[in-house]
Symmetry: C2
Subunit: 216 residues, 2 copies
C-alpha cells in the first residue's frame, strides 16, 4: 500500500469511528504510520482526504475530452461522466461512507460541491468550444454541462442509497434521455449509422430499439 | 424604515467598508440603532442578512406554483424564476454588492448555494408532482428544475457583471430555449393557441413569430 492509500484508509476509519470534526491530521498520520510532512505533500487539507482521486479523475476526463473529434464530442462528455461513476462503483463501501460524511459535515459537503463545479466547468468549457465559443451558445453549453452532471448525480445518488441495482445501465439510459434533450432531430433529419459487431443480433436488436426510442 | 431594513442597510455598508469577517453582529446593530435581540428575532445568523428576502421570495414562488393548473405548470415555474430575477433587478446596487461578497467570502457563497438549492428543490418537487410523481419521471423533473435554475443564474450573472442591457428580455429568451428542450413537439403534434389581446397586432406578430421559432 502506498503512503497515500494508508492515509486514506486511516482517515476513513477514523472519521467513521470518531466523526470528522473530532479527527485531527495528527490522528490520521499516526494511525497510517506516516509523517505529517508526507500528509501535506499528498493533500492540501484534511477535507481533501475523502476525495483522494479527484485530480486523477479530472485529468482522466480531460484526456477523454481531448481525444474527441467534432463528431464524437457529446459521446466524450457522457463517457467522461461515466468514468466518474465507474470510479465510485469500484470504490464500493468507501463511496457510501463518503456519502454519509458529505451529508453530515458542512466542510465536506462544501468540498464536494466545489468538486462537482470543477467537473461541470470542464464540460461547459469543452462544449462551448465545440459549439464555436460564441455568446449565442454560452447558455446552451451551460445547460448541457449542467444536465450531464445532474443526470450523473441522479444515478450516483440512487446507487449510494441502495436504489439502483444496475447503475451503469441506469446511467446509460439517463444519458440517452439527457443528450436526447439537446439533439432532438428535426422532421426532415435522419441519420444512418453503420457499425460492425460480433454480438448476437437477437440480443442486440431489442437494445437498439430501446436506444432509438422505438417500441418493441 | 423598518428595523429589518435598517439592519440590512447597516450590514451592507459595514461589509463594504470593513469586509464581512471584520464586521460583528454588534457592529451592525450599533450602526442600525437596533438591539441585539431584534437582530436575532429577524435573522438566524450574520450570513442571513445579505439574503434578507430569501424566505419571502420562496413563499412568493410557492404561491405562484400553487396557482398553476396542469396546463400552466411550466409557465408557473418560469414565472417563479422570473420573480427572483425581478427582485434582484429591483435591488440594483445592493444585488451587485452581494455578488462581490458571495464571490469572496466562503460563508456567504455557501449560504447562496444553499439558497439556490432550495429554489431548485421547490421546482423539482412541483414538476415531479405535475409529472405524476413516479420513479420514471424523477430524472426528468430534476433535469428541468436544474435547467430553469441554470438559465436564471446565467442571465442574472450576465446582468450582475454588466453584460446584459435588457435582462428580462434575455431571461424570457433563455427560458424559451430551456423549456423548449423539454417540450419539443413530435412530428405529428401541433398545438392551437387561442388568446385575446388588446395589443396592436402589427407589433405583436413579429414577437409571436420569434416565440414560435419562425423566421420573419
Amino acid at each position: 500500500m502506498t503512503a497515500k492509500e494508508r492515509l486514506v484508509e486511516a482517515a476513513f476509519s477514523l472519521f467513521a469511528e470518531r466523526g470528522y470534526d473530532q479527527t485531527t491530521v495528527d490522528d490520521i498520520t499516526e494511525r497510517a504510520g506516516v509523517g505529517r510532512t508526507t500528509f501535506f505533500r499528498t493533500f492540501r487539507a484534511k477535507e481533501d482526504v475523502i476525495f483522494p482521486d479527484h485530480e486523477v479523475l479530472l485529468q482522466a476526463i480531460e484526456a477523454r475530452l481531448g481525444g474527441a473529434t467534432e463528431q464524437t464530442a457529446l459521446l466524450a462528455v457522457t463517457e467522461g461522466a461515466r468514468l466518474v461513476l465507474r470510479h465510485y462503483l469500484a470504490e464500493g463501501e468507501r463511496a457510501r461512507t463518503r456519502y454519509r460524511l458529505t451529508r453530515s459535515v458542512p466542510a465536506l459537503r462544501d468540498r464536494e460541491i466545489a468538486g462537482v463545479q470543477q467537473y461541470q466547468r470542464l464540460f461547459r468549457g469543452f462544449l462551448h468550444d465545440w459549439m464555436g465559443g460564441g455568446e449565442d451558445t454560452a447558455l446552451r453549453a451551460e445547460l448541457m454541462a449542467g444536465a450531464v452532471v445532474t443526470a450523473h448525480n441522479h444515478v450516483l445518488r440512487r446507487w449510494l442509497s441502495g436504489r439502483a441495482d444496475d447503475p451503469l445501465r441506469e446511467f446509460d439510459a439517463a444519458m440517452a434521455e439527457t443528450v436526447g434533450l439537446f439533439t432532438a432531430a428535426g422532421e426532415d433529419e435522419a441519420s444512418i449509422v453503420v457499425f460492425r459487431t460480433k454480438k448476437d443480433l437477437n440480443a442486440l436488436l431489442p437494445e437498439l430499439n430501446r436506444v432509438l426510442g422505438r417500441n418493441p
